[in-house]
Amino acid sequence: MGIFSFKGGVKPASHKAESTALPIGEAPLAARYVVPLHQSIGGTPRPCVAVGDAVLRGQRIGEADGWISAAVHAPTSGTVVAIEDAPMPHPSGLPALAVVIEADGCDAWIERQPADPAALGPDGVRAYLQQSGVVGLGGAVFPSHAKLSAGKAGALDELVINGAECEPYITCDDLLMRERAEGIVAGTALFRDLLKPKRVLIGIEDNKPEAIAAMQAAVAKAGEDFAVVAVPTRYPTGGAKELIRVLTGKEVPAAQRSTDQGVQCFNVATAYTAWRAVAFGEPVTSRLVTVTGNVGSARNWDVRIGTPIAEVMALAAPNPDTDGVVMGGPMMGVMLPDTAAPVVKATNCLIAHSPALFPPKPAEMPCIRCGECARACPHQLQPFELYWWSRAKNFGKAQEYALFDCIECGCCNFVCPSHIPLVSYFRFAKSEIWAREKEKAAAEAAKTRFEFKQLRDEREKAEKAERLAKAAARQAEKTAPAATASERPAPAAPGADVTTSATVAAPSPAADGNGDAEAAKKAAIAAALERARAQRASAVPRNTDGLSPARQAEIAAIDARRESATPATAPTPVASAAPAPVPADATTDEEAAKKAAIAAAMARARAQRAAAKPRNTDNLTPAQQAAVAAIDQRRESTGLASPAGATGTAAAPLSTDPHAAPASSPPAADADRTSTP
């Protein structure tokens, strides 16, 4: 079969040999597992165990919340000792709700029941996979069952299985293919039966001859007609769109889902876990993690989800000069602020960072318009134009140059002779645009809300007059239904928007709650989260305007690589975080706390909607949510520090800004300016 090519891309040194010398190792059991509930794109699973419960390996501890969500399971047998906020593998360092399990050392499984796909039927298999927690393990963690139906275009032409693994250092898919190829092929067959594509193509970069041979042998053994295709090694061939392009010649634009063009794509590890779930009744409780970089012995480990990252790193004996851990690859990975955070389903690689391995970036020089970045861009954008307009804060122009088609792969950044942190500029511009769209939407919502409130006030007055005697009782009852009503994902209903802004949040029914203040608070936050989830797909301003919410939800998946690598950049609008103040005239402490809580929830909901992607910060306490907003704002403002100088040829790299860390650091002048309404 023919091989196509995509333009751009780069060839960084692969550094894969270090971690492929040893076979996959089984990571020893930890004493304690911290299993975050939010591990996939979409709704945050609700905990379905209580503190003190005994759990078995594979027991469901978090129920999927909505269709775009996947269950979470206990990684070993033991006791639930806490359901609390814990540090997350996320650059913000912010905690999120997790189930903490004290292992009992028996590592006893639940009773594992293989499933019969024929008996379950296609819908049954999808639901089964959702219950088994099968999500995209290439880093995107998009719930797989939601990708297992043919798209609008009808029958699929191609099912693409992604074994390209293009980022340097990462070898977990390589080892999986070498050692567990038959499982991957069986999982692929499962997907094939659901999607009924005309062809199945398994793409593997040609720097993995062992994996290619193993997969070819497994395909032959299974008697399948899958084509195992060696694709040229070039970053980012492993991006779903790039691989689809290379294997099929089809270019899926940012605004489309791949099924629109008759293609669907899964990672090899996803296929493998799907097969384990169906054939063995084993939900996803572990994954392969490459532990490499500045370490004594790099290797791939089969690690239980929830294992503290520090314990996994220790397996590789990091060298003494290690000064951090990068999760993901060196092109799109994120520096982890806290290695107490657990391994999650998105953790494909942990790299011990040292200044010798990844030298500090040289000072940023002016752009000389050499066009290297444009030649490297796999999406054929003009990064220097994007940079120019982002820096000038001419975001309209940046969008004209297709800012939102940028997948933040870092190729442009990699080649730039002026060492401009281009990707940081693009993230900054995107977050600014989101923030502005948000403000616009908020203003309109406020108007609707005002009108609605007037109406409601009048009605309430009338009711009071009519039924003076029952007024108190009714008021108490009303609190709960009102909150529940607004929980429905109906963004069009004016009532539902009542809580989207701090300023109007206070008079909302929930906040008025004169009964159980705590319950009201929770209800309000729940409502906000619910709505945020519902609206996430529709409120995204990108140069893909006018798409259906469903399609935009899919775009979230398209952005998935970026997402898993850079969750911190979920742009909390600089502007919206700031004007979420506790009203100065707050009457009582309790009232103020309540308002602050709601404001914080709102700020985060806005950020979430804007980002069209989930963060690991769902289920934070209100105070922590406020902290998220503050930290994100700080991140943004330090990101701004560099573009701030109009001709800032000598602007220090964002990263080395010594003021970036302290919480007390004042926001850069730019952040101030943009937060002024």
């Binding site: 489309q256 799109m332 970036k361 000389i368 054929q380 950044n413 730039c416």
Partner: protein, 347 residues
Amino acid sequence: MIDQPAPYLLKPASVTRVMAQVLLALVPGIAAYVWWFGPAILVQLAIASATALAAEAAMLGLRGKPVGPALADLSALVTAWLLALTLPPIVPWWLTVVAVLFAIVVAKHLYGGLGQNPFNPAMVGFAVVIVSYPALVSQWPGISGPDAFAAQLDAILGHRAGLDALTGATPLDHLKTALKLAEGNGSVAAVLADAGIYGPLGGRGWEWVGLGYLAGGLFLVARRIMTWHVPAAYLGAMAVLAGALWLFDGASFASPLFHLFSGGTLLGAFFIATDPVSGSTTPRGKLLFAAGAATLAYLIRVFGGYPDGVAFGVLLMNLCVPLIDMYTQPPIFGAKAMAELGRKEGR
């Protein structure tokens, strides 16, 4: 805890490396220059370099920018060398200084420094002095060995008395003048038969300098410092235009080969029109930009009042760059599918 955003890997590339390779690529041309026309050019290169570095440092200081890293990027040196190589090597020293000052101070820093200048700085410097001192800038040395160096040095220092013995017309100029003097009775072939001035390719000596630039330019293309677009379109347009007129009237118009190897064609094609800052950035834009610059250069050198048109061709095309870039944006990934989608939905 270090807080650097991805990517953590960077290619070992830098502006300094780019510029250093450009300077290196000029060396073969300069060597041929010295061989045929004496070491005067080296003196000019030194004067231009010193002026450029001093002006760059002063301007950076005035603008409150760190001087060290900007000087180290070598971009000022590239401008200085290109300027020195476009000027006759025996112009008085102060003329070189004036040209370089204009290039660095006005064309580069008053527009915002490296990366911001809409016009090619070296060509701005050249244009200013050729307009202000046309006589001085048309005095080119003839072929000379090392023995002429003392006289050349004298000329550079400003003693222009014995200059006539040194100078000769450039081949391009000579051809133009000879054809004009013959008033339609001469032919290119007859003029070019004068082996004292002309070689098999172009001007005697100059063709070797041109070959040197060609070698250096190909080195840059091979090193991927520049893409093939600009040199190919520049030389292609020059050859096509010259070829068409030569075929039309071989007696009045020199061959394409002559034009490719005369004057600033090769220097322009590989080193001047390729300036990324002031040139077009898109692939199709580069083709347009270079073809336009070459066309203008040809028209000016053949029909215009100046001996060569490389500088003005480039400067005029610099003006058009924003427009060219706007209309030549390459399609982005998936653009075809989007267009199809639009067509379907439009129906």
